[in-house]
Amino acid sequence: MLKLIELIKKDLTVDWRQQNPVSGILLYLASTIFTSYMAFKGLITIEVWNALFWIIILFTAITAISRSFVQEERRSIYYFFLAKPHILIIAKLIYSLAYLLVLAILALFLFAIFFGNPVNDYPLFSLNLILGCIGLSSAFTMISAISFKSNNRSIMMAILGFPVIIPVLILAISNSAKILNQTIWSQIQGNMLTMISVDVIIIALTFILFPFTWRS
């Protein structure tokens, strides 16, 4: 437990000290949103808003989280002695979820400025956003651990990640479209439960499979 907190704290300190990647990803988020604002001028309906929002979250997540193991390259040897892989992956999962949630909130804020804010039902919308972010961040953390071992990481990250993330993404997009169109809870209950179970599957698989990619 103590090690878990230490590892999360370490990730935070690393990101805080070398501010280059963090400011890079913030700029990435801002410029993709601004580019799509220029491209989609006048075409924005609620459905387009929703799809655009999730696509930008998807690309931000894949760019932000692909770093999570690459930056450990030179340090990885120390971890073998310091922590068990199970603790390491839990720390990584928590950190990347927190990171992605902060980015998602920023994205929502920027979207509200440029495209207007169609969100009425904040509790339901944020529940769906959190569930989607759990799925995205944990799946991409696992994919990042896999592609860490390969030669061309950035391409591998995309081609391995996209087919795997489709179940989470289509559930999140269709749920949030319904929420933005003022749907009541009972109509999306089934989809929400499916999404929770997909998240649970992803996290459980990551937990079981990560140690195999780690020891080498």
Binding site: K149, N151, T194, V198, L205, L209
Partner: protein
């Protein structure tokens, strides 16, 4: 797989079933349905491709798990060669399906959930082979690709259940296609269809077993020289 590599009887069974499928599929009486007409005979050559693909991928994942438990390189050969055949089945399934859809639904690709799910599963396993080629160290390659195989397959299965709920399917069984549902009850079709599934799946395992022998022999030759 080890059993299948040693024994031969199932190959004779496979030949018999496929000969029966081709003769029966082309000549036996079929129900006369609107729109479908004679094209319903594709059923015996298209649908078994999907059954075969899923069964072969399942075999591949089982050997992936066995590899992770034992670190035995033999299991990795089994797993990757089965995945190879699964891709071949998937491509054939998509092609036969597109030809059939062109005549019955009017267009080769109509954003049908089952079509999309099959495209996704092909993407997953094509990515699996790109991943294998991009890692040099052999042991690491085997382990990482087994991990991806298990991870992606276990997410593909929920996808097969989620996608149909998102939109209506033109495929029989969901979305309300009364004309198609009739063949579920037709005993003439069933008499050929189930043997066809077994026959095509066995053919897949047969091709895989030849590929496995080939790659094991190549490995031995490399080690010997």
């Amino acid at each position: 797989m080890a059993y299948l590599l040693k024994k031969n009887w199932w190959k004779w069974l496979c030949i018999a079933l496929l000969v029966y499928t081709i003769i029966g599929g082309l000549l036996f009486p079929v129900p006369r349905l609107p729109i479908l007409n004679e094209t319903i005979r594709v059923l015996h050559f298209h649908v078994p491709m999907w059954f075969g693909m899923i069964l072969v991928f399942t075999g591949s994942v089982i050997y992936g798990i066995k590899y992770l438990r034992s670190d035995n390189a033999l299991f990795d050969v089994y797993s990757s060669q089965l995945a190879n055949i699964g891709i071949a089945f998937g491509v054939l399934g998509i092609l036969t399906g597109m030809v059939w859809a062109n005549y019955t639904w009017g267009e080769p690709w109509s954003n049908d959930p089952k079509q999309n799910a099959s495209a996704v599963s092909l993407l997953i396993y094509l990515a699996y082979f790109v991943l294998r080629n991009s890692i040099k160290d052999e042991q690491q390659r085997n382990r990482v690709s087994a991990v991806y195989n298990i991870f992606a397959y276990s997410l593909m299965i929920p996808l097969l259940f989620i996608l149909p709920r998102m939109s209506d399917s033109l495929h029989p069984g969901n979305g309300g296609n009364p004309a198609f549902n009739v063949y579920d009850l037709d005993s003439n079709l069933r008499m050929v269809f189930y043997p066809a599934v077994i026959g095509w799946t066995l053919l897949g395992y047969w091709i895989a077993s030849i590929n496995i022998r080939l790659s094991l022999t190549q490995e031995n030759l490399e080690n010997a020289s």
